[in-house]
Symmetry: C2
Subunit: 112 residues, 2 copies
DNA sequence: CCAACGTATGCCCATATAGGTATATTGTTT
DNA sequence: AAACAATATACCTATATGGGCATACGTTGG
């Protein structure tokens, strides 16, 4: 029912991902690293798994989770479209382009 | 109760933002552009407003909404931390760094 | 094979949220 | 001031979600 956007809307799940970014972890390792109960961790991992943001690998009786960052790319792509609206670098570029456009108009001189 | 991550977890709200990215719009304009009822639009705009992702400006009896992209920066910052895990460009960089590290170890030659 | 470990899941509750419809609110026009 | 336009909000319902707890499931070590 959810997508990556929903999955990372939960702060706890972002914390889990941040931990996994440092390398794969078992469920109990995550339980100790973050301050959550084991069922909570497992449930959040399930959501992350369902949207493909984490992968699982069996290791004996443990299950090792790791990040599948590629699933986060749609988020990056979407929000990057707004970068020009806050970045000073892009603001400067926009200013140049605007000025260029204005000068083109003036050079054309339709009426004067 | 929510933050920017929650606000954009809703697909409709992302659509609203995408429209506003093209310039400020009144509520009714959004109603026509997207296929939502006026109360739906107003409610979503309220959420977006509360997390600071949009700004409002009164214009006669209308209210003009615009994007405040700076509020999206935390999302961009967070997800950018994972970019190296999917980008080929960063993968190549990582490979170079790994190799460099390995060579350093070999140069040191602790045991052989 | 059995016991203990590591993990997943089912259940219950409280809360949050979205959709739908009606209505209140605010500003405008005559 | 009254009628109207543009928007916000209240209310209801259905559904989703998280926390807490108990328990089921799968694996391995003795």
């Amino acid at each position: 029912m959810s997508d990556a956007f929903n999955a990372v809307a939960e702060p706890r799940r972002r914390e889990i991902l941040d931990q996994l970014a440092g390398g794969q972890r078992s469920v109990n390792e995550l339980v100790e690293l973050l301050d959550l109960t084991q069922p909570q961790i497992s449930k959040h991992l399930r959501v992350l798994r369902e949207v493909g943001v984490v992968d699982v690998r069996g290791d004996g009786r443990r299950r090792l989770y790791s990040v599948n960052a590629r699933a986060l790319k749609p988020i990056h792509d979407w929000v990057s479209g707004y970068e020009r609206l806050w970045s000073e670098r892009f603001e400067a570029l926009d200013a140049v382009l605007d000025r260029h456009k204005r000068e083109e108009r003036e050079d054309a001189g339709d009426d004067v």
